[in-house]
């Protein structure tokens, strides 16, 4: 079934990336937008844009009925869910197929199976993939959950069963913290995923997060596209990802890839998916444990695209059209080193508080080895309603050292004014000795905040203030000039 018009059930940078994939493929794109996103970049970029109404996610991008109406109205023959929102909701995949449309993702039953941490875990064990001690409680009341936490042992991790991306997740260090953690995780899980079911597992501390990208077609073929190391996390939210991982050796890399393919085959997986592993130790002595499977495109998929040369969204669309994978495992190789930095509207110095406001100036970097996937531009109003991810910067270099330097160059070129971002913070992470040495574990950022969120040089702050004052006092520039017509006067001879 060839796809000719694709509805993108998402917003922000990933919706823009999928619109571009449609253009790159020569098919039509249909955006959907909430009332808050009428002027958003993804709304404008697509060939068509259909309003969903509503403002909160629950009233817009999570409304299956409205999305199917939009598909009908626009004549779309397929739906891409992106990540987040409904991407891992099996009911959505089922409803799309029931409506006679192609769902760009795995079949609903596979999403259900792998989305359930219990079933995914059981399947992993069957497939011979090591797992972390833990499980879903037989009942979801506080008492049962707290008892389960005690049985897997502290520190324990309470996680949304439906979730991902660090939402609905809490660490409980001893029995006394269990009820608070369970309550908070359940509330966030309900708000973010509409499902408060929780999962408990033993927290393996100072571990790394290394995941394997897989692609599987409808003909029973599956390959992996190597790993992404996503150990740089703040409060369980990935902020920097890279490939290859500096932590694992070639033998472990190969075993992880084989384990991921085995699990994909065991679950009858179809389309793009990611198998997340927790990694302890280093090099070829590293041990890995199955964590969960994400049955969708990942935020950090461009890292894999950069090192393998495979366009994952095109691969998803090819698979959804029933094409067989064009490669054998041996044809896929990593070349060079790629790093992704997630640009968030947030204030790292204030506990990563999300920021809202109008972007006065948006100037992304460019040049050799630089890719920017953005969902905003100059003039975009960043609202409080959705995830504060503004853009992703992906750099590629011949070596990890070259990629780090290039990322630092690109972050320095990246100018965002009007909304605070984590750009400087990301640069501090990349400049740190710990990151340079490849010794980051998933809790490292949270423990190194004092140096990572250090204030900038005082003399630079003073100079910036002086510069602003000088401009303010200059009639031809500064706020008056900036808001007025000076540049235009010079340009055209025309006056207000």
């Amino acid at each position: 079934m060839s796809i000719t018009r694709l509805l993108i059930a998402n917003r922000g940078e990933i919706a823009c990336r999928i619109v571009r994939a449609c253009r790159d493929r020569g098919i039509e794109s249909v955006a959907v937008f909430s009332d808050a996103d009428r002027d958003a970049l993804h709304t404008r970029m697509a060939d068509q844009a259909v309003g969903l109404g509503g403002t909160t996610a629950a009233d817009s991008y999570l409304r299956i009925d409205r999305l199917l109406d939009a598909a009908r109205e626009s004549g779309a023959d397929a739906i891409h869910p992106g990540y987040g929102f409904l991407s891992e909701r099996s009911a959505f995949a089922a409803a799309v197929v029931d409506a006679g449309l192609t769902f760009v993702g795995p079949p609903a039953d596979v999403i259900g199976r792998m989305g359930s941490k219990t079933e995914a875990r059981a399947l992993a064990e069957t497939a011979g993939v090591p797992v972390v001690p833990g499980g879903v409680a037989p009942a979801q009341d506080d008492k049962t959950l707290a008892a389960l936490a005690a049985s897997v042992g502290f520190p324990a991790l309470i996680k949304a069963s439906a979730g991902g991306g660090g939402k609905g997740m809490r660490i409980v260090r001893h029995a006394g913290e269990a009820l608070d953690g369970i309550g908070a995780a359940r509330r966030e899980a309900r708000a973010a995923f509409g499902d408060g079911t929780l999962y408990v597992e033993r927290l393996i501390e100072e571990s790394r997060h290394v995941e394997i990208q897989v692609l599987a077609d409808t003909h029973g073929n599956a390959v992996h596209l190597f790993e992404r190391d996503c150990s740089v996390q703040r409060r369980h939210q990935k902020i920097i990802e890279e490939s290859p991982s500096p932590a694992i050796g070639p033998a472990v890399r190969e075993r992880m890839g084989q384990a991921a393919v085995a699990l994909a085959k065991a679950s009858q997986y179809v389309n793009a998916g990611t198998i997340e592993f927790l990694v302890e130790g280093e090099g070829d002595a590293a041990r890995f444990y199955f964590l969960e499977m994400n049955t969708r495109l990942q935020v950090e998929h461009p890292v894999t695209e950069a090192v393998t040369g495979v366009d994952l969204v095109q691969a998803q669309l090819d698979i959804a059209e029933g094409e067989a994978l064009p490669w054998t495992q041996n044809a896929i190789a990593q070349r060079g080193h790629a790093i992704e930095c997630r640009i968030y509207a947030e204030a790292p110095e204030q506990g990563f508080l999300p920021q809202a406001g109008r972007i006065l100036y948006w100037h992304p970097p460019s040049g050799p080895g630089v890719r920017v996937d953005s969902g905003v531009e100059t003039g975009t109003e960043v609202t409080v309603h959705y995830d504060p991810l503004l853009a992703k910067l992906i750099v590629t270099g011949a070596t990890r050292e070259a990629a780090i330097r290039r990322a630092l160059r690109a972050l320095e070129e990246f100018v965002v004014l009007g909304v605070r971002t984590n750009i400087t913070f990301l640069a501090n992470v990349l400049r740190s000795e710990t990151f340079a040495a490849g010794r980051v574990h998933t809790r490292w950022v949270d423990t190194a905040m004092e140096s990572l969120a250090a204030p900038p040089p005082a003399e630079l702050a003073a100079a910036a203030a002086q510069a602003a004052r000088a401009l303010r006092q200059d009639g031809s520039s500064g706020p008056h000039g900036a808001a007025g017509a000076d540049a235009w006067r010079d340009l055209t001879g025309w006056r207000l």
Partner: protein, 143 residues
Amino acid sequence: MNAPKFYPVDFPRSGYAETHPGKINRVEFRVEDRRYVATVAWEGRRAWVHVGGHVFIIDPRDSDDPTPGASADLDALSPPMPATVTRIDVKPGDTVVNGDVIVLLEAMKMELPIRAPRDGIVARVNCRAGELVQPGTPLVVLE
């Protein structure tokens, strides 16, 4: 051909013309013999200055020694952004200790705890659970 159809009301919201900021100033200066080129955008008389990989927000009312970001501007007991009140943990007369969670907010799908900036006694509570609150509104006042 059909005559082109204009949709002046549907898109964008504010009529059919979307206006954009994007006007900036640039300033070159030297500190310790290093050359910097700053990019400056204006929000009224407030300047956003990008220089040397850092962003500074310079308010006319600020002193000569601005700290980066807006932390100095924030009253710890008012919301840092539009948010919904999900829980209020205090009532007038309660004693609070520096760091206690006083109000729980939700915005952008994240829980945002508002904590006591010092030890004290709650004088007034100015919000209700479920209410959408704005930055600058004092949610709770300490004695």
